[in-house]
C-alpha cells in the first residue's frame, strides 16, 4: 500500500493502528457504558431527590462539548497513553446513555414483578441487576455499540489534533502525520485515505449492526 515520506510502511501502520482504535473503543466505550448505565439505573429506579441530582449532573455533562473538554484536559498531560485517553473519553461521553437507560428504567421500575422483588426484601442493586437490566438487555447492547462507535470517533479527533498517545500508532495519528507532512499537496493519497476509510468502515458497520439489532428487537421498524 505504499509508504510514508519517511519510508514507513502504511499497511503495517494501519494494522497496528487498528489495534489501538479497538482498545480505545472498547475501553472508552466500556467505561462510558458502565458509568451511564449505573447512573441511569440508579436515577430511574430510586427516583425523587437522587433522580433530580443525577439528572442535573447528566444534563450538565451532556451540554459541555466533550471533545473541547478533552483537549484542555489532555493538553496538560506530559506523557499520554492509550489507557488514559480511553479513561478520559469514558468519563465524558456517558450522559446520553444514562438518559436513555433512565427513561427505560423509570417505566420498568413500576412493574409488578419489581414491586414483588422489593417486597421480598432484596437489595437495590440486586433488583436492578436481576429484575430490571435483563428486561432491557437489547437496549443495553445497542447503547454499548453506539458508545463504542462514539469513542472511536472522539479518539480519532483527539489524535488528529496531536493529543494522541505519545509515540504510539493509531489511525487518527496516521491522519495527523499525513496532514503535518503535507501528503495532500504531494498527492500521496495512499497516506490519508486508508486510515479514514478504516475508521469510517468500523464505525459505520457498528451503526448498521445496530439497525439490524433494532429491527430484530423492534418489529415496528421492519419494512412492510
Amino acid at each position: 500500500m505504499g509508504t510514508t515520506s519517511f519510508g514507513q510502511d502504511i499497511w503495517a501502520q494501519f494494522v497496528h493502528g487498528l489495534r489501538s482504535t479497538f482498545v480505545t473503543g472498547l475501553l472508552g466505550g466500556g467505561i462510558a457504558f458502565v458509568l451511564g448505565t449505573a447512573i441511569g439505573f440508579v436515577a430511574g429506579y430510586k427516583g425523587g431527590i437522587v433522580d433530580e441530582i443525577l439528572n442535573v449532573l447528566t444534563n450538565v455533562v451532556l451540554v459541555l462539548p466533550a471533545l473541547v473538554v478533552l483537549i484542555v484536559a489532555v493538553a496538560y498531560l506530559d506523557v499520554r497513553g492509550l489507557v488514559v485517553q480511553a479513561l478520559f473519553i469514558g468519563l465524558t461521553s456517558w450522559p446520553w446513555a444514562a438518559r436513555a437507560v433512565r427513561s427505560q428504567a423509570l417505566s420498568l421500575a413500576t412493574r409488578d414483578y419489581v414491586d414483588l422483588a422489593r417486597l421480598s426484601g432484596r437489595r437495590t442493586w440486586k433488583i436492578i441487576t436481576t429484575e430490571i437490566a435483563p428486561n432491557m438487555s437489547s437496549y443495553l447492547v445497542m447503547s454499548f455499540i453506539l458508545l463504542f462507535g462514539g469513542a472511536v470517533l472522539i479518539a480519532a479527533g483527539l489524535d488528529f489534533i496531536g493529543l494522541g498517545p505519545t509515540g504510539g500508532v493509531s489511525l487518527g495519528l496516521m491522519l495527523e502525520s499525513s496532514v503535518q507532512w503535507s501528503a495532500l499537496q504531494l498527492g500521496m493519497w495512499w497516506w490519508f485515505v486508508p486510515p479514514g476509510a478504516g475508521i469510517t468502515l468500523l464505525v459505520g458497520s457498528m451503526y448498521i449492526l445496530n439497525v439490524g439489532l433494532d429491527e430484530v428487537f423492534n418489529p415496528k421498524l421492519r419494512e412492510l
Binding site: 451540554v63 466533550a66 473541547v68 473538554v69 480519532a156 479527533g157 496532514v179 495532500l184 479514514g196
Partner: protein
C-alpha cells in the same frame, strides 16, 4: 412560560459555573506541574533564567496564593473580560485574539448546521417508506455519520482542491488580499469558505436524514395517520402532518448533537487551516499557550450554552403543548 425560561437559565448558569470551575481546576489538580512542564518543553538551560521564569509563571497563574483566593481571583478576572495574556502572541490579551477568530468559526458553523438540518430532515421524510430510496438512504446515511469530520474534509480538499483545482486549499482568504468590504475580497472569502462548509454539511446530512426517516415511520404508525388514511386523505397531507410531529424530537436532537458538530467544525478548520477557533487550538497547543487554550474552552462553552438556550426558545415557539403546560393547564 417565564418560569420555564427562568429554570432553563438557572440550569445554564449552573453549567457555566461548573465549566469555569473545571477550567480553573485542570491546571491546578492535574498530576504534574503545568509551569514546570511548560518550561521543560521550552528547554531552558540557564538555571537562573529557569528560576526567574518559574516564579514569574507562578505569579501569573496566581499559584502562590491560597486556593480559595485563586478561585475568586479567577472569577473576578473573568468578569473583567481578562483571560490572561497569550504566550504565543506575547503582549496580546487572549480575549482579543479569540474575538478576532470567532467570526470565521460562526460563519462556518451556522450555515452548515442549519442547512444540513433542513435538507437532511426533508430528505429523510421524503425517503421514509419509499422502497428504493429507503434502501439506499440507510447505508449511505450511516456511513456518512460514521465518517470522521477531518477525513471527509481531507477527501474533499484532495479531490476538489488539489487534484481538481476548483477551490483554494488553505486559509480564510487569499494571501494577496487584505480584508476589506470589496467585491473581489468577498468572492475570495466565499471560495475559501465553500469547501469546509461543504464537508461539514455532507457529514451532518446523514444523521438528520436517518433520524427523520425513523421518526416519520413511527408517526405513520400513529392513530391519527391511520385515521386520516381511513378517511381517504391524500398521501401528501398525511406526510405533512407526520413531518410536523417528527420535527420536535429533531429539534431536541439538534441541542444534543451540538457539541459533536462544534468539535467537527474545529477539526475541519484544522484541515483547511481556516482561521477559526480550531486552527487557533492547534496553534496554541503547538506553542504551549495554555492561557489561550483555556480561553477558547470558555468561549466554546458559552457559545454552546447560548445556542442551547436559543433552541429551547424555538422549541417553545414551535410546540404549543409546552406553552400550555407552562401556564398551568392540564398536562
Amino acid at each position: 412560560m417565564w418560569r420555564y425560561m427562568g429554570r432553563k437559565l438557572g440550569f445554564y448558569g449552573l453549567t457555566f459555573v461548573i465549566a469555569v470551575t473545571i477550567n480553573w481546576m485542570i491546571p491546578r489538580f492535574m498530576p504534574g506541574d503545568p509551569v514546570r512542564s511548560m518550561l521543560n518543553r521550552a528547554s531552558i538551560s540557564d538555571p537562573e533564567a529557569l528560576e526567574r521564569m518559574t516564579t514569574y509563571y507562578n505569579e501569573v497563574f496566581g499559584l502562590d496564593t491560597p486556593l480559595h483566593q485563586q478561585y475568586f481571583a479567577f472569577w473576578s478576572g473573568l468578569f473583567r473580560g481578562d483571560l490572561g495574556v497569550s504566550v504565543w502572541l506575547y503582549p496580546e490579551p487572549v480575549t482579543d485574539i479569540i474575538l478576532r477568530h470567532i467570526p470565521y468559526t460562526l460563519g462556518l458553523l451556522i450555515p452548515a448546521i442549519v442547512l444540513s438540518w433542513i435538507v437532511g430532515n426533508h430528505f429523510g421524510a421524503f425517503a421514509a417508506r419509499g422502497k428504493v430510496l429507503d434502501n439506499t438512504l440507510l447505508p449511505v446515511g450511516y456511513i456518512l455519520t460514521a465518517t470522521p469530520y477531518m477525513w471527509m474534509a481531507l477527501l474533499l480538499l484532495w479531490a476538489l482542491g488539489v487534484v481538481g483545482g476548483f477551490f483554494p486549499t488553505a486559509g480564510g482568504y487569499g494571501f494577496a488580499l487584505t480584508p476589506s468590504w470589496s467585491w473581489p475580497f468577498f468572492v475570495n472569502l466565499v471560495s475559501h469558505w465553500f469547501l469546509p462548509f461543504l464537508s461539514m454539511f455532507v457529514v451532518g446530512l446523514g444523521g438528520w436524514a436517518i433520524g427523520m426517516r425513523n421518526l416519520i415511520i413511527y408517526e405513520l404508525e400513529a392513530e391519527y395517520s391511520n385515521y386520516l388514511q381511513a378517511l381517504g386523505a391524500p398521501r401528501r397531507l398525511i406526510r405533512r402532518y407526520a413531518f410536523r410531529n417528527a420535527m420536535l424530537p429533531q429539534i431536541t436532537g439538534l441541542a444534543v448533537q451540538l457539541g459533536t458538530i462544534i468539535a467537527g467544525a474545529l477539526l475541519t478548520e484544522i484541515v483547511f487551516t481556516y482561521p477559526g477557533l480550531g486552527t487557533l487550538i492547534l496553534r496554541s497547543l503547538n506553542n504551549n499557550d495554555l492561557f489561550l487554550l483555556q480561553g477558547i474552552f470558555l468561549f466554546v462553552v458559552v457559545g454552546v450554552l447560548i445556542a442551547n438556550f436559543i433552541i429551547d426558545i424555538i422549541y417553545v415557539l414551535v410546540d404549543p403543548r409546552t406553552r400550555v403546560q407552562m401556564t398551568g393547564g392540564a398536562s
